[in-house]
């Protein structure tokens, strides 16, 4: 059948597109690490990391305890993909750094690190529209800076190590409280070996007009990146945080396992934007959750384009009355990729509202999975949830699965759930091609149309990047 032939061709093209796409992030510099924890994970590894980082005793204990939890917990393959078994924890290096403190000026950053972030456009973005940037290279931040006026307002934006040492009184009460060590095997792993990531505190009533951004870069092979982020927005504060990430395409698998905890106190608002563009040998196993107190709002705006396997279900615990939680998510799974994403909404107070909008695109033999959990207990009243998940299948061998679990007890709540699966029809393609677009361009336009309403939720600078990435994924070798 001609249609199958042509889509097979597209598959080939999109396959090549992956290589084109990676040219931006696919480059590597020789390692020059002063500190290398070596391969494999044991109590010794933990001590090595603690010694290098000069961790306080409570952190050392926290890490050792977490290691035990990690070792005791089996991989969740009873519900998740068996591909998790292919992670060889003994072949991964858990800590790599050059032993330098993060620099406040790009001029002081080592040349190859600077070149890395220049190529990724980070300093340019900082000048253009960011309030502050942290740029992490393997295990530690190479650069970290924030606009001076924010420092004067009492805003804290540092890496996790500085956070726990210099701001213990704010850091410690919330650290590991939104996501306990034992939440899952990979949050336990992160708790054992975490390094880097951001600690942010926005004082009462301070509303940041520009976003803060973190960029996570993996440069070394057989390495695991385990950043740990904690963001606290005090009463009435507002912040938008954006993260991006890339890695070169290595022969061996790379592991990225972050833990991100958000705390929005009374009336505060946190928006967390992610554009994940890992190369497709990265296992991306991330735990993200926010706590929203009275009248507070936590929004996760999440886009997953790269990686071999992403498992990520950003969540919001709505603990205070009228708290709001939202997850807006876009996932694109190409051949060799599995995007297993979703959302968790835990209603724990009256009149709390949650909204989930998830759109996934499966290309070639790519697989997209949506897993949702919405929990509204009987004793509450006036809670609302809206869940929409739409899947677009590009090829006949693309795959999508949806596992929505909505538990609503009692009759004083309102929930709504919609799901759809669609395909780019042969007739739609014919129509677009008849106007002069080649097959890749036509697909790309159809995909952009599918996610258009969600792309608008991303800051403009990111939505442009997002469209570009999707075009590259879809257009193949079209020149």
């Amino acid at each position: 059948m001609p249609y199958e032939e042509s889509t097979a061709l597209l598959d080939e093209e999109t396959h090549e597109a992956i290589n084109i796409d990676r040219t931006k992030g696919d480059f590597v510099f020789p390692e020059r690490h002063k500190f290398d924890a070596g391969h494999g994970l044991s109590a010794k590894t933990i001590d090595y990391i603690c010694d290098v980082k000069n961790d306080p005793q409570w952190v050392r204990e926290f890490r050792h305890k977490a290691l035990q939890v990690f070792l005791d917990k089996p991989a969740p393959t009873h519900w998740a993909t068996k591909d998790l078994e292919n992670i060889d924890f003994d072949r991964i290096r858990y800590y790599l750094s050059d032993g330098e403190k993060p620099k406040r000026s790009w001029d002081e950053v080592p040349p190859e690190v600077l070149e890395t972030f220049e190529r990724l456009g980070i300093p340019e973005q900082e000048r253009a529209f960011l309030a502050g940037v942290e740029a992490q290279y393997d295990s530690e931040a190479a650069y970290s800076n924030m606009k001076e006026e924010l420092t004067k307002q009492g805003v804290i934006f540092v890496n996790s190590t500085e956070g726990l040492k210099n701001h213990e009184e704010i850091f410690r009460p919330w650290f590991g409280k939104v996501i306990p060590t034992g939440d899952n095997k990979y949050s336990a792993l992160n708790s054992a070996v975490f390094s880097g990531g951001s600690f942010i505190y926005i004082p009462k009533g301070v509303k940041l007009k520009q976003p803060l951004q973190a960029y996570f870069r993996i440069n070394s092979e057989s390495f695991g990146q385990f950043e740990r982020t904690l963001i606290i927005a005090d009463e009435g504060a507002e912040v938008m945080y954006m993260e991006g990430c890339t890695a070169p395409k290595f022969e061996t698998a790379t592991l990225h396992s972050a833990v991100v905890e958000l705390v929005a106190l009374k009336g505060a608002r946190i928006q967390y934007v992610t554009v994940q563009n890992w190369s497709n040998n990265v296992f991306n196993l991330v735990t993200k959750r926010g706590l929203a107190m009275e009248d507070a709002e936590v929004r996760w705006i999440d886009c997953n384009i790269g990686s071999r396997l992403t498992m990520k279900y950003p969540g919001v615990i709505m603990k205070g009355r009228r708290a709001r939680g939202e997850v807006i998510s876009i996932a694109l799974a190409n051949t060799g990729q599995h995007q297993d994403t979703g959302a968790k909404m835990i209603h724990a107070a009256d009149e709390t509202t949650s909204n989930i909008v998830s759109k996934s695109i499966s290309v070639g033999r790519g697989r997209a999975t949506y897993r949702g959990q919405v929990h509204i207990p009987r004793h509450l009243k006036g809670c609302r949830n809206n869940t929409e998940c739409d899947a677009l299948l590009i090829n006949s061998n693309s795959r999508t699965d949806t596992y929505p679990a909505i538990t609503v007890r009692g009759n004083r709540h309102a929930t709504q759930h919609e799901a759809s699966v669609s395909q780019v029809s042969e007739e739609m393609l014919f129509y677009m091609q008849q106007r002069g677009l080649n097959e890749g361009q036509a697909m790309s336009l159809a995909v952009n149309g599918f996610i258009n309403d969600l792309v608008r939720e991303f800051p403009m600078e990111y939505s442009v990047e997002l469209k570009r990435l999707i075009d590259l994924e879809m257009e193949g070798s079209v020149g």
Partner: protein, 250 residues
Amino acid sequence: MSLNIHNLSATLEDGTEILKGVTLEIPQGEVHAIMGPNGSGKSTLSKVIAGHEGYLVTGGNVTLDEEDVSDMSIDERSRAGIFLAFQYPSEVPGVSNANFIRAALQSRLPKGEEIDAVAYYKKLYSKMDLLEMDRKFTGRAVNEGFSGGEKKRNEILQMMMLEPKYCILDETDSGLDIDALKIVAKGVNAMRSPERGILLITHYQRLLDYIKPDQVHVMAEGRIVRSGGPELALELEKHGYDFLKEAAFA
């Protein structure tokens, strides 16, 4: 210079014969009309010319200004100058009309060249004014929630923006009320030019009251059974297709 359809035969994937040797030449500067009963192969002819992959060409060919298009893909044929106004245009959810037409124009430019946005919108608005289309139309998703008349007008708008060498209009008049038909005809007539050939596929004479053809062809059972001047359409209107078929196969 012409769009030349030479002894064209085509089947469905299952082998069903639809076109059985169609020969037709549409020279630049002329408007031709194909009429014929339902199922005669008129729409298939337009799709095969455009390169639709659901049909298998089993004989003959199509040349565009003497260039054989047989090995050209759908989009290559489009960029070479063949435009098809669809009888049932597809919806493209989430893609605005302005972006869609822009992408189509962009596909005609050499790599690295960008469309001038100001000039683009100026042209778009002038064509929309001619077709009496509301400005809000540019922001709406392609054909999504459009009435039948809006869809057909949108096809004409795209045609006017792309300025193809050869236009094929597949039953553009069907489902249009008389006012909409007049507007569509105004658009098509504005496209008439010594450098452009137009092929109208229609079931009814009505359209030809507003767009005067140079030649009329009658298609039945996958063949052109009769060709003549505009008077042929009137004759058909009077006697119906049965009369013609009888005449042709007598």
